[in-house]
């Protein structure tokens, strides 16, 4: 039954003869046989594709003869070189902060300085950036303050941008291999790779310190490995599967989890807020996401004067009334009937300062252990989840989730809230130590020195952390600023309604935008429609038991096409349910699947045309059309690449000629 396939294989190899060594023949014969067992009808590309060293020990010969075969896929190398050329060209221009480099660059600085921080993304991408930075000798002394700030000489811009750029180049390569692995024609694979190569949005995304290209690369590699594993049996399959798991784990992105510590510092609330409300003018209490000596609090019983721990230690139990003293300033945690700074419906929390106005201290808090086993439970560090209920008002200490303005150093607001059942009213003691000294200066010194010594790791298991992070990711989508100038809606993405301005040169109209190659973009959208239509038509025809296409074409349509189709929707649909400010670059992972689907559709049309004698002569026409279309893509790519490299000063006319849709907003410096 498989003779036809063997012949087909050979045909493909003939095409490839230019790129591979002639001794390939016998080998591919053999693969064809081995493939019959798996029965997937896939041509055997896997031997020709990679520039790899293959150590083949042929068992039927004498074991002493070991062959060393060096095989290089010229096409793959060519694609990679092209990709590198486009991605690496003048990589350090512009020497300014471009778009989200602001965030990622800041993280790299923090990494370099060894400062511990929390962030919305898992660390791998930033670690790669950091690695590149540290190899190039970056000292971390650059504050990423706002988009457009020029870099100083100590920032190795080129090195930092190298990681995404190389990832972006390998993206082209992996597209090529993935398409081959999906048992598609080699020309299709080349087409797909070219489409990715000539896509302005991937170019823009690869040239700066942004993580998307790394993420997409890992994702595609993962898919590649999974496909490889399903085509093999036994141990090889397992190995590929594990590789896939690792890679997909690497690409896992976007988690939110803001943990913060109860914090106070020697600054007071402003007498009046911007909206005219008054405050208590007492010491600020905030929630701070960084470890800091100001996060230390001393728990004491109200009737006890000494701050040092008694012997034996007096354990605090559920229901006990306590005071919390801020370690550095020695002021007591206090709350009163004054509206909080940002959430006026809740009470303000402060550290009490006696101004001798008729505002008495209300600094008693009841300890409510949420996960207690009995009424007598003690307050354990780490394990106990406690709620601190203000005795005078019955409100609970709560993290409101909002940020304070500049006077609060943009730290997070802490309030006392009447609603106790909220998740954000639950606290836990992460680290604790017994206070030894009674003298204030001594205590301060104790705290400061202790802070410098790394303390024991908290005892949360990986799974507890993991679930907490996942929970927070679901529960606390941050209040991103709505109505961003370049934000867009998921429904607008398939038609490229909006672009994103990444950077504008301070002294010319050179600018960088994230914008797609509109020709590819539209044909991609059309290909999704075409695939859906074909899917419906083929299913109906099959239901009526009409067999229009030979099974191998149909199988490929269902398996390969469906993988890509599903990949597209899985990366796109969820955004409709996300209540956050979204940008065009969120669409890129879905978009790469769309490009693959587009290439697949081309492949499919070609196959269908080849099937019948009548349509055979149309194939030449089809190929001609594809060539014209491709050259149009090249031209568009070239035209819009000025918006990726940002090295050409654009006149108003140039910009107008690039503005193919009137919903695209480019920026012009005002004429003075």
């Amino acid at each position: 039954m498989d003779t036809g396939r063997c012949v087909k294989n050979r045909k493909i190899n003939k095409i490839r003869k230019e790129v591979t060594e002639p001794q390939e023949y016998s080998y591919s014969e053999k693969t064809c046989n081995s493939h019959r067992e798996v029965g997937d009808g896939a041509p055997a590309e896997n031997e020709t594709e990679k520039p790899e060293l293959m150590l083949t020990n042929k068992m039927n010969h004498s074991p002493s003869r070991i062959y060393l075969q060096l095989k290089i896929d010229v096409i793959a190398i060519g694609l990679l070189i092209l990709a590198l050329c486009t991605r690496l060209y003048k990589l350090d221009e512009p020497r300014h902060i471009v778009f989200d480099e602001l965030h990622y660059g800041r993280y790299v600085s923090l990494y370099t300085k060894g400062v511990f921080f929390f962030d919305a993304h898992p660390p791998l991408g930033k670690q790669l950036l950091y690695l590149a930075g540290s190899i190039a000798g970056y000292d971390g002394n650059f504050t990423f303050d706002r988009i457009g700030t020029p870099y100083t000489d100590n920032v190795p811009v080129k090195a930092l941008r190298l990681v995404p750029a190389v990832s972006g180049s390998f993206l082209v390569l992996i597209t090529y291999f993935l398409m081959l692995e999906l048992s598609l024609h080699q020309w299709t694979a080349i087409l797909a790779a070219l489409l990715v190569l000539l896509e302005n949005c991937f170019l823009a995304q690869s040239r700066f310190m942004l993580l998307e290209s790394i993420q997409i690369l890992f994702g595609l590699c993962g898919v590649y490995c999974i496909i490889k594993s399903t085509k093999r049996i036994g141990l090889t399959a397992l190995v590929w599967l594990c590789a896939a798991a690792v890679l997909l784990g690497c690409c896992f992105s976007h988690t939110h989890g803001r943990t913060c510590w109860l914090h106070s510092h020697a600054h007071v609330y402003p007498v009046r807020y911007a909206d005219g409300r008054g405050s208590s003018h007492q010491q600020q209490v905030t929630c701070y996401s960084f470890k800091d000596v100001n996060n230390w609090w001393i728990v004491k019983r109200p009737d006890q004067a000494s701050l040092a721990v008694s012997r034996p230690p007096d354990a605090i139990r559920h229901g006990d009334i306590v005071q919390l003293l801020h370690g550095i300033t020695s002021r007591a945690l206090n709350s009163h009937d004054v509206a909080a700074a940002v959430s006026p419906q809740s009470q303000e929390v402060s550290c009490y300062i006696d101004y001798n106005v008729s505002m008495p201290a209300q600094n008693l808090w009841r300890v409510d252990i949420v996960n207690r086993d009995s009424e007598e439970s003690t307050w354990d560090s780490i394990r106990s989840l406690v709620r601190l209920v203000h005795v005078d008002t019955g409100s609970g200490l709560r993290y409101s989730g909002r940020q304070l303005p500049a006077w609060g150093f943009h730290q997070h607001e802490i309030v006392a809230d009447k609603v106790l059942s909220h998740q954000d009213t639950i606290w836990n003691v992460e680290e604790h130590r017994y206070t030894k000294a009674d003298d204030r200066k001594e205590r301060e010194r104790e705290l400061v020195t202790a802070e410098m010594i790394p303390t024991a790791v908290t005892q949360l298991t990986f799974w507890e952390k993991f679930t907490e992070l996942q929970y927070k990711m679901i529960a606390h989508a941050p209040d991103a600023p709505h109505g961003h100038m370049f934000a867009s809606e998921p429904a607008e993405w398939p038609l490229l309604v909006r672009s994103i301005a990444y950077w504008l040169s301070p002294d010319s109209n050179a600018q960088i935008h994230l914008i797609g190659n509109i020709v590819t973009w539209y044909t991609g959208t059309i290909s999704v429609v075409v695939y859906s239509a074909l899917l419906a038509i083929y299913s109906v025809r099959k239901r009526r038991a009409c067999e229009d296409l030979p099974p191998f074409v149909l199988n490929k349509f269902y398996e390969t096409g469906y993988t890509l189709f599903l990949g597209y929707w899985l990366h796109y649909l969820p955004y409709f349910f996300i209540d956050r400010t979204l940008f065009l670059h969120h669409y890129l992972p879905a978009y790469i699947f769309k490009i693959l689907l587009l290439a697949y559709i081309m492949d499919h049309i070609y196959l269908v045309l080849q099937l019948h004698e009548k349509t055979k002569h149309v194939t030449n026409l089809f190929i001609l059309c594809v060539t014209i279309w491709l050259s149009y893509i090249v031209l568009t790519f070239k035209k819009f690449s000025v918006l990726n490299y940002g090295n050409v000063d654009l006149k108003e006319n140039d910009l107008m000629s690039l503005r193919w849709k009137d919903t695209w907003d480019f920026i012009l410096h005002k004429k003075i």
């Binding site: 911007a274 419906q345 809740s346 239901r543 009526r544 209540d579 907003d665």
Partner: protein, 709 residues
């Protein structure tokens, strides 16, 4: 009701006795339903929970005053109709829950809702029967729903839910009836088929016209229809034309006909509500011109805008107000201390503005303002110019502040605005009401907009007006509403009044905006979808001496929950079995078991469709949103119980099997009924101490800490 049962002549006796039993069961359940639902239905005689809203709306319908609501009109119109017919005159204010009715004739409305709510039970019975043809499954499924205290509570008051659930049940029944008829091979145009399809289409339209959650049942019926058509298509003995005819008939009866009905309901709604009421402000000028008593009704104004005219500018944002200013300055610390500019939803002398050319005080003669002109806009009562400058807006940091500046119309260059018709060409005449205008600040290149945010006390809680540098702001559109200029001929506003289709469209835009605007307020404890299936927390319908608490019967709910999980397991096991059987070439089992499982599958889909979408919704959710899903869940439990029991029975000897089977059925029925008896005070009213006190009548029934009765 006759049911086709293929049987031989010998079986006719058995068949006879089966139909008798069927009828006895059916009437028994119906009797029990009406008994439980009508018992104490008129107590308490005060406004309960959301009766305050729907009663109010019924009054508005009766008085024909226009109002705004986030739900489509049918449910409220039916309530109003029942009230009207039973002698309610629409004068009771329905101010807040707990108000005594004091002679207002609320009885008719409540009985109407209760009756529709009660009919859900027989309809459920018929639906399960239609799916499974198994009396046991039908009986258990229906009994669970009948004995659910929460379901009863929700269906006994003047609310939309009983009406919604009634039409939903009609749709479910119709949908399964149509699918049985299709499987029986009825022709698409046969009268029986056609009439059932029209019944189904009508039910769908009604469900959608009561609440938008009716969309889920539409989806459900859609899926079921696709499955039916797919089955017809797979029958190779029939030509493709047959499927196409089916498709066409279904398109007509299930899409076109319901849509026509839906539009018709809106037509009634808009025709009945012909008088101006408190909902006017949400709608555009054109819409308001249709409402009697509104200042735009029967008014007349010049068609175009001329220099020197006194105008009011209405913002195009749904619910947007008029551009407004008054003799008060922005307080210190809020931008420049100049006169406040706001939007204000009520009509007021301070909404008047005068349009002038940018460089002169007045023009000679009548010069029409055109798109692209540079103008100054002077506040008529105070003589200050509309002005903007590089100061941040009071609430929205990224926007610029808009102030009133200058004396008697003399200001500076920052008072110049470019007036542009959105989507129009330069030089077009600016028309009253019709033109959508943008006011672009000439120097700052920002656009006059309202953010919809409420200003603090100093701004009298009116809405913020700012200048947005992002010219794509969707809220930056304004239209001229009043236009006073004596030298131009006046045309009647009648010509600006929106036509029906425009108003239909606008009502929807406003409703959707209203729905998505129902966001939980900060600090408000809201109900969350995960709490619903576990019956985590209820909802008080009535307090004080006659306490009514909407809470599911925990026995029913937790059984349902367990069976949802069991279904999942059964489904997985069955799929594996089938896959293996396929591999060995054994044909799939056909028979009662697979019929039951298939039915269970469909009810599961129904449950999922009515439950899972709530997870993705941003709006405020309430406990009672789960009840449509509960109908499906109860059906599933009934069907799956029968499936499991008969599976178990087949493993036992016939004698033992029969005994065990009947014992278990007996236990199920008695437990359900007893739990209903226990929890029925939740619906019929509790008095005395709360359940947490030992001497309460409900003592010992507070099984969860979170229940509040």
């Amino acid at each position: 009701m006759t049911h086709k049962l293929q049987g031989n002549v010998h079986e006719s006796n058995l068949f006879q006795s089966k139909t008798t039993i069927w009828w006895i069961t059916f009437s028994l359940l119906c009797g029990a339903t009406f008994l439980t639902r009508y018992y104490k239905v008129l107590e308490p005689d005060h406004v309960c929970w959301d009766e305050t809203h729907f009663g109010k709306m019924a009054s508005w319908y009766i008085n024909r005053t226009f109002f705004f609501d986030v739900h489509p009109p049918l449910g409220k119109m039916l309530i109003a109709l029942s009230g009207k017919l039973s002698g309610y005159d629409g004068t009771f204010p329905f101010e807040k829950p707990g108000d005594k009715y004091d002679g207002a004739r609320y009885q008719g409305m409540r009985l109407f809702c209760t009756t529709l709510g009660a009919l859900v039970i027989p309809l459920t019975f018929l639906s399960i029967w239609e799916m499974t043809k198994s009396l046991e499954a039908t009986f258990i499924g229906t009994l669970l729903l009948l004995c659910d205290v929460g379901f009863m509570t929700l269906n006994r008051y003047i609310l939309l839910d009983p009406i919604l659930l009634f039409f939903m049940s009609c749709s479910i029944y119709g949908c399964f009836k149509v699918s049985t008829l299709t499987n029986d091979g009825l022709l698409p145009f046969s009268p029986r088929m056609l009439s059932w399809q029209i019944f189904l289409g009508t039910s769908l339209a009604c469900t959608m016209s009561v609440k938008f959650v009716g969309l889920f049942v539409v989806l459900f019926v859609g899926l079921r229809t696709v499955a039916d058509l797919w089955n017809i298509l797979g029958d190779l003995s029939k030509p493709v034309k047959f499927t196409i005819t089916h498709l066409i008939v279904r398109t007509l009866t299930l899409i076109v006909w319901p849509f026509v009905l839906y539009v018709f309901f809106f037509w009634i709604h808009l025709t009945v509500l012909s008088k101006s009421g408190n909902g006017d402000g949400f709608y555009s000028s054109g819409f308001q011109a249709r409402l009697e008593g509104n200042s735009l009704h029967n008014a007349s104004a010049p068609r175009v805008l001329a220099y020197g005219a006194l105008v009011t500018l209405k913002n195009h944002r749904t619910g947007g107000g008029y551009l407004h200013s008054h003799h008060h300055l922005y307080p210190a610390g809020v931008g420049a201390r100049q006169q406040q500019i706001t939007t204000y939803t009520h009509k007021d002398e301070n909404n008047r503005w005068q349009i002038k050319p940018y460089n002169r005080e007045r023009v000679e003669g009548t010069v029409v303002v055109r798109s692209g002109d540079l103008v100054r806009v002077t506040h008529a009562p105070t003589g200050r110019n509309l002005h903007s400058h590089r100061e941040r807006a009071p609430l929205t940091a990224k926007h610029l502040q808009v102030t009133g500046y200058g004396e008697d119309g003399v200001g500076d260059a920052n008072d110049v605005w470019k007036i542009v018709i959105s989507g129009g060409k330069d030089g077009e005449e600016i028309q009253t009401v019709r033109s959508k205008l943008m006011l672009v600040h000439y120097l700052q290149a920002c656009v006059l907009t309202t953010t919809g945010k409420q200003l603090p006390k100093w701004g009298y809680e009116q809405q913020e007006v700012s200048c947005n540098p992002n010219l794509r702001d969707k809220n930056a559109l304004w239209n001229i509403e009043d236009n006073v200029f004596d030298d131009l001929p006046k045309v009647s506003f009648e010509s600006y009044a929106s036509g029906f289709l425009e108003r239909f469209y606008e009502s929807h835009a406003v409703m959707f905006q209203g729905n998505s605007g129902l966001k939980p307020k900060e600090g408000e404890v809201t109900s969350q979808p995960w709490q619903w299936p576990i019956n985590y927390r209820g909802q008080f319908f009535s307090g004080s001496t006659h306490r009514i608490y909407l809470l599911g019967n925990p026995v029913v709910w937790w059984t349902n929950l367990a069976f949802l999980i069991i279904f999942f397991l059964v489904y997985i096991i069955n799929s594996i079995k089938e896959k293996r059987a396929e591999a060995f070439g054994v044909s799939r089992q056909v028979g009662e078991g697979s019929l039951l499982l298939n039915a269970a599958g469909w009810t599961f889909i129904g449950w999922a469709l009515h439950y899972i979408p709530f997870w993705a919704m941003g709006r405020v959710l309430y406990f009672h949103h789960y009840f449509p899903a509960l109908v499906f869940s109860s059906m599933l439990t009934g069907i799956l119980t029968e499936y499991l029991l008969s599976s178990v029975r087949s493993y036992l000897s016939p004698e033992l099997g029969k005994t065990a089977y009947h014992c278990i059925i007996g236990v199920v029925i008695s437990t359900t009924v007893y739990s209903f008896y226990l929890f029925s005070p939740l619906a019929y009213g509790m008095s005395g101490p709360l359940a947490s006190e030992p001497n309460s009548t409900m003592a010992g029934l507070k099984w969860l800490e979170s229940w509040e009765f």
